[in-house]
Symmetry: D2
Subunit: 370 residues, 4 copies
């Protein structure tokens, strides 16, 4: 702890779409201990003006002015909330301008972009974290802890459905911006399967629907995928942008079952249902800001010079698997994921073998008495 004059990391939020407006900007109010909002960047001057005023942000600018904004506002770190397809470019520019990068997920739309983002931040000596908010969320962290502790025996099955109805014209329905049900929603199911099984899939199959609905002219309306994990565990997942709101997963083990329903939301109460040998415990969690803990944690990593997790490798791994799913859907056959694929660069492989949640847990874990 600094003895006097606690230092705060100065943030620019880049991209002022829905997630920035309803979640990221308000989160700074709960992250004051070490984080401060000092700049906004957007292509929309009206948004810059309105939001700049509401949050009393001194410096704003367009994407073209990103470097100027970073300098003028003495920005330490950026929160990248632009469309997925532009994560790579913005991350590179911010890194070269000296800013640490906290980037929304999916990290990018291709493995190559992810690799470039890792290289760019390394080259500039700045930190890179992918904003998997559920790695900081109590219900999901408790689910991980429960499964690890053997509460349901050996986990064997993961099943998840995550849907909502997207409005026509939403950027999530534009392929050129990196939208679609699989990339925008399926990534939650995929990531959950990985952190709950604490392992990487070895084989995937996917079926995609590109419906006749004009909303989905460009992208998948929904995707169903099957994943095989080591230890002969299976996962099934369906993500859709054309069905009513559903947000849940369940892990079935040899002795019991754990469900989260809802599981992926950042508003409202998440609820856990644990069933073991005829006893069912249902727990409703109080609503908490999921974004502020990310800011606090990332700022702390910067201040204490620690590598943040979820790292770029975590983000890359999801993108690698999502791309394999798309390939499978195109061919109608399963795709085998070799372990080799994962070692993007040999010298970084080691790091990847440590599941990121491991290191987060000691920091965020729920009190043991619960």
């Amino acid at each position: 702890m600094p003895t006097h004059q606690p230092q705060r990391i100065r943030y620019a939020v880049i991209g002022l779409g829905n997630i920035a407006q309803v979640a990221v900007l308000p989160a700074f109010a709960h992250a004051r201990e070490n984080s401060e909002l000092v700049a906004l960047v957007s292509g929309d001057r009206a948004k810059l003006h309105a939001l700049g005023e509401r949050y009393r942000v001194p410096v704003t600018g367009t994407y073209e002015e990103l470097e100027r904004v970073i300098e003028e506002a003495r920005v330490d770190a950026v929160y990248v909330a632009v469309p997925n397809a532009f994560h790579c470019e913005i991350t590179g520019r911010a890194a070269r301008a000296g800013a640490h990068v906290l980037c929304e997920k999916p990290m990018a739309t291709t493995v190559e972009d992810c690799q470039q983002m890792i290289r760019a931040t390394k080259a500039s000596g700045v930190k890179l974290m992918v904003a998997y908010r559920l790695h900081f969320e109590q219900a999901n962290l408790r689910a991980i802890a429960r499964i690890r502790s053997g509460a349901i025996g050996e986990p064997r099955i993961f099943s998840s459905v995550f849907c909502h109805q997207v409005r026509e014209g939403n950027i999530r329905t534009r392929d050129d911006l990196g939208g679609g049900a699989l990339f925008d929603m399926g990534i939650y199911c995929l990531n959950a399967a990985r952190y709950l099984f604490q392992d990487e899939p070895v084989e995937v199959y996917a079926a995609q629907v590109h419906g006749t609905d004009p909303r989905f002219a460009d992208v998948d309306e929904m995707t169903t995928a099957v994943l095989r994990f080591p230890g002969e565990r299976l996962a099934q997942m369906t993500a859709s942008q054309g069905a009513a709101e559903v947000s849940e997963y369940q892990v079935v083990g040899t002795k019991g079952q754990l469900r989260l329903d809802p599981a992926y939301e950042y508003m409202g109460h998440l609820r856990e249902v644990l069933t073991v040998e005829g006893e069912t415990t249902q727990h409703t969690f109080p609503e908490r800001d999921q974004f502020a803990p990310e800011l606090v944690y990332f700022s702390r990593c910067i201040l204490e010079n620690v590598e943040p997790v979820p790292s770029g490798y975590e983000g890359l791994e999801d993108v690698r698997i999502l791309q394999a799913m798309v390939r499978s859907a195109q061919t109608g056959a399963k795709v085998t994921l070799s372990r080799a694929d994962r070692h993007v660069r040999p010298d970084e492989g080691l790091e990847m073998n440590k599941p990121p949640v491991d290191r987060v847990l000691p920091f965020h874990a729920p009190a043991p008495s619960r």
Copy 2:
């Protein structure tokens, strides 16, 4: 109502394993209006003696004595509850001895056997019904009615998990008897997807696990499958005999979601959760005998000379799809199901186009006021 001397169909139950003992035999007490238990057939003389005494059944005999039992007890109909692999042989013999056949599901282990069963019963002029008890169960019938009525909008997604822990040595783990998670449990998920979507899948993919667990030396421990239905709807399902008890499905539509949890059980309370536009209704059904309605219905079909549904074609259709799933699991690629495959014999095709539940519903449908 007959004024005097109501006629009862005289049944022999063939095969005295678990399902016969805990469900079929006790069901006759609730089916007295038109059904009577008059004979038992089993390979185990001790069982014949003990159960014959408990249920006061006058005539019993071994499988070899099947024809003698049918004659001696003046059996009108048999309930076939032997291992799946023997459904075909027993059905053929019972039919040739003049008995109508109510056969447990899966109807058989191969499409060829199913076809032979249809031919054998037709040739003998006896009726054949496959014992899909959920076609007579209130919660599932109401789910069908709700979805049909548009309660959740257009149904888009089906997701189901059905598991339990099978004991080592159980006949459900013997491949030669027709066991395995897919055939014994997956058939429920598959059949539910079909009656809830009211359609036939056009494409399937499956991944199977043949674990190292000695219980599953012979058969699949679990199977996960993806099905594509006309109208670009997707279904995912996982069946396992090596995981804790789970029994549920959900259908997600454009406006809402319907869940049954538990969905497939015949003991305990089934529960429905319907969520539409922020309103959730949860309904717990009283426990009811699911087997007695099958007996009453089948007896009525015999007495009134009506073709029963679920027919042999319904049973055959499931087996055809299950076999396609097994093929898919072997090749790692999806299998396309042509409509042609379904028309086993051209003259029977027409019948198959009428979803069997349609005809059951008027008989079993819940009161409209509910």
Copy 3:
């Protein structure tokens, strides 16, 4: 429907405490069809300024300026949200100034005040309604309808608990302002017992707690009461301002049970649990503004010159019973409520015999298909 120029009732809100700020003022946004907020009255000039600006209210003034405000803003009706002890005085002044009165509950702190309010509004020829928001709330209206329809058989028992933790110094803990658990919260339980049993109690007993907690130096911390209704039905109710948040009631009939939990809240989802003969249906209602329907209804009564319900007699009846409860708590013996007591003035007795909810229901009743 007016063909052109739809007329809107112009409202002044009097008293800008918690209920006005969180509920009444925002409700005007949902009552635009026939209601308009045109004036604010409060003793606190800072509040007048801040809220006047936020809601763009043209005319504001102190309590002393009430008559001036009514005239200047051409106020048609006032919403009285001042402390309970001042309802009578404010209602009288507003009525004399020509404004219709929609008054928060409890209507007043004594029967005499209630009678005076009825007389004053009658004398001035303005309408008087007591703001029982639950008479306009879907879950409670449906509960009434269900019980009336015989869903739980004959209703026999009512049980309710309504608690929260009040902050020290809150006006609800000041006796001189008409606070206390019984008057501020118990009135909900009492009113619910009356509209669910559709009858008036004939006998009450109450036990009160005036704890050592400094918050409750002046008023009851909690009150438990027993009510006997005609037909030998019993009700029990506990209201507390010194216990954790609970808000629920249940009615037990000869055939089943209906619970609302929460039952009395105006934020969050109300939930109904109906149990009849082993079947349980649980329904979660979407959140809706409960105040706007009151405004819309009262405005309509004014525009169409219809007597509004809940009338002053309904408000008076609750106060009469609450006072009997206080008397019972003081003596330790039950108090018998004679029907005569109820006929405040013979010429108005007739009106009181019609349970107010009866007349509300046709207007607000939930759709029959539910």
Copy 4:
């Protein structure tokens, strides 16, 4: 643990009504470690024959033959399940014949009878325990432990409803046998209020209904009571034999609320709902035999010569309060319970100050890890 020849207490069950048939007799199968059923006593020879055969009980006899049965079957202890009005007489005779007494609740119908039962067993040097099965039931024990641990803050309010529909002619509707809603069902609510508040009420009020229903010509159909406990805590409770099945209680504290619903049943799953500061945990308990633990515990007390709890004083205390409630209902005024009343005999007063559950808990408490 005895090294060889573990000794079993030999029981006679006296009275073969419903509770004996559905609960007590079957419980011996789960109490084999130290308890054995060796004799049956009833006034109905047909029952003696049928149940004697089913449970293979060697010695049976009528009430007149009680002493003979005790001697012949070398009975160590009796389970008294006769109608409440006969508890005293049977207990006295069994004690004098040298048998320890485990007596159903309510212990008797008058305080005098209870005192006589205590004296009779003391004089004969045999142990006396009242069969409060919920003192041995996991959900209720956990509720006690939770409240004691401060999970809901200071407990302030207890509310309970316990109802069912009794059949006409049932002994529970016969006053001469000690029936009625208050004595047969209300005792559960009363006892729960006492073990959850861990204290004795200082004042009670009750309202009773003696309806026109012919079932309740003799006894109360229902009773609602209010109890004041030290520390200014209040309890409300309603027991009825003429309403649909409800079985629940809730304790509201300064920080949260604990509900058990159902709370009092011995068949089916008990369910706990704990709500603290916006977090709700719901737990469904597996079904367990509640009678076997009583037998095992009482046998252990005999074998180890320990005074059993719930003792006769616990039973007497409930009867004393129930009688005060009846008096209150007759007078329409509250009855104050002096502490002096409780010290039936000065030398036994000390024992009564120790809440019985205290001593039971170490034996039956749920594992701390839950």
